[in-house]
Symmetry: C2
Subunit: 447 residues, 2 copies
């Protein structure tokens, strides 16, 4: 299970490496930055996810015999570059937002520092992971906020590529979901799994009653019965008749949910099943969940909308060279000037300023280092957003695996408490916080 | 690289299996069908993709020690079910549309026949693969049609999960793209790879001229230079000065492309570089490509829009039980009756009827078998759409691997020639062909 991740790479990264090894620029130290020019879907905040996965994939970013043979046979790089890749280890630094952290346009989500050679080849992998997972988490956080205290399960694996489905379950959990249907996500990331039966279960049997009876025998009275295969009213009646008033729950997967949920609640209560929970699962998104806030629903299952980022399937982050050394070792901030895609040169330090515990801005200091940041110091309640993830090639193992997921979820749930109330609205709008760029005075003109 | 695919599975499939093994229904023979209730994005046709990947994943659908330990430790199934899963092999039949085939609402894209036990556990994996890959292929085919004879490269890996990116490159290639930037897709599926340099290449160097000179030394005059890092006009002038009029190509990644392409073409011609090609790559989708049809563009690179299905990131196909045997071995067509998600029971055979070589309908015969189909026989030019993919557990190896991809691409390019002209429009509309359901007379009332 330690397949190489090294070919999750766009060809141009290796052709640039090839040319840079020839002309000597490969060893120039560089700073690349990952940021989003805007938030996906004109939302009010984004959520960083994927960091822990990325760190593990970075461990496996090795060019073995199979990878090298392909690059040689296809004449993608020359012999010197093959030699370089055979010994490739990332020995630089990754500094970034904690997984689960909120982000805004221009937030320096990840900073990659190393030689041009070792850093440029990571572009595609870094962006694939962060763009996908952050898109899911950014959508999921809104659903989680809309659901309030009601449990929310992710069950969209069938509407996502089979591996992305696992990553989506992970991102949704970090952003506040409480469980997933995906067993691989349960095993890999320690996420609670859920699920009982599909319509096929009822159709397999000679009657709905047979199906319910069998499910209860196997899973106990506390299970959840899917009651809408034929007629919902009959389904509920049969469910309670078979299970008794101690039935754990019923699931509704079709119809106009506010109406149906109210009818089912009334029917359950009239049958004495006052403790039986109602789960709804039909094409929900954050807006449908919000519309059900006043309905007698006990939990939600969300599929398509969460795994596809609810209209924004990618976070649209980019990976840009923002600073490099020249031949004399001096740092130079660099940026492209294209009219519609300009970027901002220089290394950045980021802080969330707060007043009375409520976030007020994303403060980004263009600076050579992370000390002497007068602007941040002027905000006594500012919180530094970046942490070291990889130091001289040494990966922070605490951010990986199930422990990393649990930490990211806890961090997310904590920091979203800082959001101002206007950030919680679901409508399209400007970001909830302004991103304020300042130059650290004492290093102005440098990076 | 033969990791098990068995946990790419929603928990409820295993809880249903568990209960079915207890009550004896696990051994009932069943027919499940994969179909889409509608086409993604109100398009005029869909493209089936993922079949070859699915067959390989089916080979690897095995419950090994790691998978079984997880299921036991988490108490997801009981000991008898663990025993069943330890010996799991799919021994049934998969019959389906060829990869690359077109589909319409209700097309029986894949039919899975086997015992309930062996078939139900495949639901999530089957849908994950077909929904993702078909969404990409359905979007990609429109881009390919809009591009006409101009080459079209997929370069969206950074905007998709790292594994889905490989599948997306594959699906786009099947639907008419000519190359990908993704090296893993090149290695795994034999797709041509492309790419030369990013903006970071120019920014790494002390001047744009240095960067161009170095790239040409490494890659030759026939390379493509990215000319929009600073000022495009200066970039083009520098490119031709450095490379000479034999420069292979320039790439433009920003700006209003019709205007910029015309200006760059005029400039190149005035400099004598009349053979230098122009590649454009900035946020293209099928509409932007169509809008550039009259512009002097030689090739396109498409990223985000193709890997995210251009607004429809999942094909929305479902996996439904449509027929099963009863205890006496008689077949019964089954379907759920939910008002908004009703399905149609019975096994289906599918044909594309044609007149003068132009497709006229998707004919779906609800039938027990694939012979004696009077309705199809009434259309002498009808083409049978289903082929055996797995026969009694034996997988059609020809549909797998790079050879399967090449065959799927050839099939797609051939069958889309049958489409009526109205199918080629990009606007939202009804499907280009009606789906006509009929019951095979001699088997009416049966499945």
């Amino acid at each position: 299970m330690t397949a190489s991740s090294a070919l999750h790479t766009d060809r141009y990264e290796l052709t640039m490496l090839d040319a840079a090894l020839r002309d000597g620029t490969a060893q120039r130290r560089c700073v690349f930055e990952v940021f989003g020019r805007r938030l996906p879907g004109a939302r009010r905040f984004g959520v960083v996810a994927g960091t822990g996965r990325l760190l593990t994939l970075l461990r496996d970013f090795r060019f073995g015999d199979d990878e090298l043979r392909f690059l040689r046979d296809e004449k993608i790089v020359d012999a010197d570059t093959l030699d370089y890749l055979a010994g490739y280890r990332f020995t630089g630094n990754l500094t970034g937002y904690r997984e689960g952290e909120l982000y805004f346009p221009g937030s320096p989500i990840l900073t990659v520092e190393g030689t041009f050679a070792e850093a440029v080849v990571l572009e595609t992998l870094v962006l694939s992971v962060l763009n996908h997972d952050s898109a899911i988490a950014s959508a999921a956080a809104r659903m989680s906020l809309a659901a309030g205290d009601r449990p929310l399960a992710e069950m969209g694996s069938r509407r996502a590529g089979e591996d992305s489905a696992i990553a989506a379950a992970r991102a949704a959990y970090i952003a506040g979901f409480s469980a997933t249907s995906n067993l691989a996500a349960g095993r890999r990331w320690g996420i609670p799994t859920m699920g009982t039966a599909a319509h096929a279960w009822t159709l397999l049997h000679d009657s709905e009653e047979d199906a319910f009876r069998s499910q209860i025998e196997a899973l106990g009275t506390d299970t959840t019965l899917l009651v809408d295969t034929f007629d919902i009213r009959t389904g509920v009646e049969t469910a309670v008749r078979v299970a008794g008033t101690g039935l754990g729950g019923v699931r509704i997967d079709s119809g106009d949910l506010p109406t149906v949920a109210a009818d089912v609640r009334a029917q359950l209560d009239s049958l004495g099943a006052t403790g039986t929970r109602i789960t709804v699962t039909s094409d929900l998104d954050e807006f449908a969940i919000a519309a059900l806030a006043a309905s007698p629903v006990d939990s939600y299952g969300v599929g398509t909308s969460v795994v596809t980022g609810s209209g924004s399937p990618t976070a649209g982050m980019v990976f840009k060279l923002v600073a490099r050394q020249d031949d004399a070792g001096a740092w130079i901030g660099v940026a492209k000037a294209s009219t519609d895609k300009a970027s901002r040169g220089g290394r950045k330090a980021a802080f969330r300023t707060r007043e009375d515990g409520v976030a007020t801005s994303e403060l980004v200091v263009v600076s050579d280092g992370y000390e002497e940041l007068d602007d941040a110091a002027a905000h006594p309640d500012a919180r530094a957003l970046q942490v070291p993830l990889v130091v001289r090639g040494d990966i922070d193992a605490a951010a990986e695996g199930p422990a990393g997921v649990a930490a990211a979820r806890a961090h997310h749930l904590r920091v979203r408490e800082e959001l101002p109330v206007r950030a919680l609205a679901l409508s399209r709008s400007d970001p909830a916080l302004p991103t304020v760029f300042t130059e650290a005075a004492e290093v102005a003109g440098q990076v």
